[in-house]
Assembly symmetry: D3
Homo-oligomer: 159 residues x 6
Amino acid sequence: MRRVVCPGSFDPVTNGHLDIIGRAALLYDEVIVVVGANQAKLGLFTVDERVAMLREAAGGIANVRVGTFRGLLVDYCREQGVSAIVKGLRAVSDFEYEMEMAQMNYRLAGLETLFMTANPQYSFLRASRVKEIATYGGDVSSLVPESVLGRLQDRLASP
Amino acid sequence: MRRVVCPGSFDPVTNGHLDIIGRAALLYDEVIVVVGANQAKLGLFTVDERVAMLREAAGGIANVRVGTFRGLLVDYCREQGVSAIVKGLRAVSDFEYEMEMAQMNYRLAGLETLFMTANPQYSFLRASRVKEIATYGGDVSSLVPESVLGRLQDRLASP
Amino acid sequence: MRRVVCPGSFDPVTNGHLDIIGRAALLYDEVIVVVGANQAKLGLFTVDERVAMLREAAGGIANVRVGTFRGLLVDYCREQGVSAIVKGLRAVSDFEYEMEMAQMNYRLAGLETLFMTANPQYSFLRASRVKEIATYGGDVSSLVPESVLGRLQDRLASP
Amino acid sequence: MRRVVCPGSFDPVTNGHLDIIGRAALLYDEVIVVVGANQAKLGLFTVDERVAMLREAAGGIANVRVGTFRGLLVDYCREQGVSAIVKGLRAVSDFEYEMEMAQMNYRLAGLETLFMTANPQYSFLRASRVKEIATYGGDVSSLVPESVLGRLQDRLASP
Amino acid sequence: MRRVVCPGSFDPVTNGHLDIIGRAALLYDEVIVVVGANQAKLGLFTVDERVAMLREAAGGIANVRVGTFRGLLVDYCREQGVSAIVKGLRAVSDFEYEMEMAQMNYRLAGLETLFMTANPQYSFLRASRVKEIATYGGDVSSLVPESVLGRLQDRLASP
Amino acid sequence: MRRVVCPGSFDPVTNGHLDIIGRAALLYDEVIVVVGANQAKLGLFTVDERVAMLREAAGGIANVRVGTFRGLLVDYCREQGVSAIVKGLRAVSDFEYEMEMAQMNYRLAGLETLFMTANPQYSFLRASRVKEIATYGGDVSSLVPESVLGRLQDRLASP
């Protein structure tokens, strides 16, 4: 059985993330989408909210489940019997950072990282930018799933 | 009539910015230099000070005017009848970030971005670096216009 | 009047080129698409064929015309009263090469280059790749205009 | 069953290639290493020689087999029931080229590409450089497998 | 006499830093390793602790000495009679930032910067990542010298 | 005594090369500028002509001498008692290629490479571009030394 993780902060999940998750689910037996909880307090949404949005958006895919981790990702992967990390790459600057992380995870625990390229139509999509646009009233309905859209408006509307 | 905007934080304007503004003014009928005011509190200078320094430095060019915006740049451009954003590019790392912004602005509102390359003699010039050098007593007189030089010394001298 | 050139080898024109040409035509009074003829013998199509394909594909846009040049682009632009070069950028590696060309053209003749970002859906599209795919029977009908599709099949079918 | 391909020109296979092949073999049920034969005449070794060297070097891994393809890789993958392409990435410049190829293959046939990062100790290793060093008598014994070393010396010694 | 500086924040020194320092010591008559103290309060270790760790790790090399500087590096170098700055480069993103700094230092004071490439086995090693791994109990014993290992555990264990 | 080499094809030497050579001569006891002769037949100028142009342009610097090498640069450096290779870097794409070469040379022979950043005013200058511009009658008098200018005109004028 080939089980992989898709780690991220998912604050919140975007259509770009969902594209990678859906494509990974076709390639592996099981995909665990994991929200990193080490620095969760810094986000717009709590870890529980992020998990809830991910479950609403991706939970319908049979071999996808959603979780969280604290500490080192390599430790989580060992416990869960995970073969590899799967990450989407959008840009060259992503790539260098991720290549370093991948080499470090391989050095620490022999854990492999497999990179998929972002769908070009989402190549300019970052969660941070979605939040910035939504903050100033821009229309992000084509950039995030419905589960996120409502919560984003609620959160940004509250004082 | 071809009206473009040159957006930025301009905290403060440098000779590299002025080079781009001057060259853009030769290519378009009107250039609006706009100071983004969304996160203005984080800067060394207030938005008003930045506008004042820009006006002193670039106000002498007939078809350049200086303004500010809050919210989304695409909304500001629609209100002002702007055809395109003009940005200077200095480096590859600039380029990726700016390409993503450009694609997002096009997606949000069909707004185009046109990139000009920095004059090589200013390719290493960033406002943040100018402030750092000035903080420690370095000579930045060839890097910023006179309107900035005095204010920079005043600001950094004050306790 | 703002007249710009879109230079290239266009061997053959792709949908990515056409996207840039069409968007440039909205931003400037006149767009001259010019096929560089210095090394024309190295291509799959003759310069005349390339011009013909461009005319069929882009000739319907009122303010676009198609030409050729030999020698230095800066000389051609001076003769034609051109304000600036317009180029599409797809990737970081494009950018460095093009930035150098732009700085050289500015140094040689004060000629500006304005860069537009490729539409993300064409970010992976290069004429050389289209030819390679077509050579091995791949379907390129969504990558090039109809004017090209037929000629490409004829050329690659001939012994 | 998860079957992937590792495509390349392998002219000749290096220790960097073997590292990726071996790691891929741990992650998938079957790995087909395929030598692209479209431009085989341009290489130092014939396609048959490249296959022979690969078989000697990687044939001992139970779930690795070696083949060749002509035409489009996406067609080959469809015929062979392949789920995905696996490629090693060494550097940023690799990445942009490969990202474009990956997006094109996805567009043409829905075929995914999964990237693994090169082992840092092989990050500077290219087959072209190995050949250049060997041509001038440099010691490449730590850069290629034994199956390659002898053939490389024979080939470069012959007039 | 050729005296160079290796500047950095060294919070803490890693095996990657030590590799560069040791190689620089073979190429120059004297190497001064200098800890930048401008923003020292932001680090995990005090400037004095960083200096102590560097001295324990690199002090055994005859022509290496360790110091600190406040203010502009170009001023420090002038005072110390330093010919050039020596920096290790690991990645493309490092390179752009460092190239800008180098060009600025040359402009400010005619001070040269010489770049060495990181040993590939340390290409993914950053002090910030070491601290993150250690925070969550990962094993960093192969990434930092012994002088750092103990202090890192003490610091992260304290409440 | 610190002796370094500045290797290149120098077909022909440009003002960018001369800038690096002159700055290197201030940092080291002796600088040997070496023309690589492995693929000399492919150039516009013969190796002897390139050496002659270099001697005319840089021969006036007391601690610079000009030579040629065939075979591996690491072998040449060992024979000449050279401590390190010195190279100028203009751009990110240069950097990746050069970093790989540097790591290979270190692996092969423990030979170090030191990189200097190009003077920004020459950042867009490549010998290949100079030749292209000169071929079409462009003015390159500010891009190459006088020793090159005459020969370039002669060579390109001859049938």
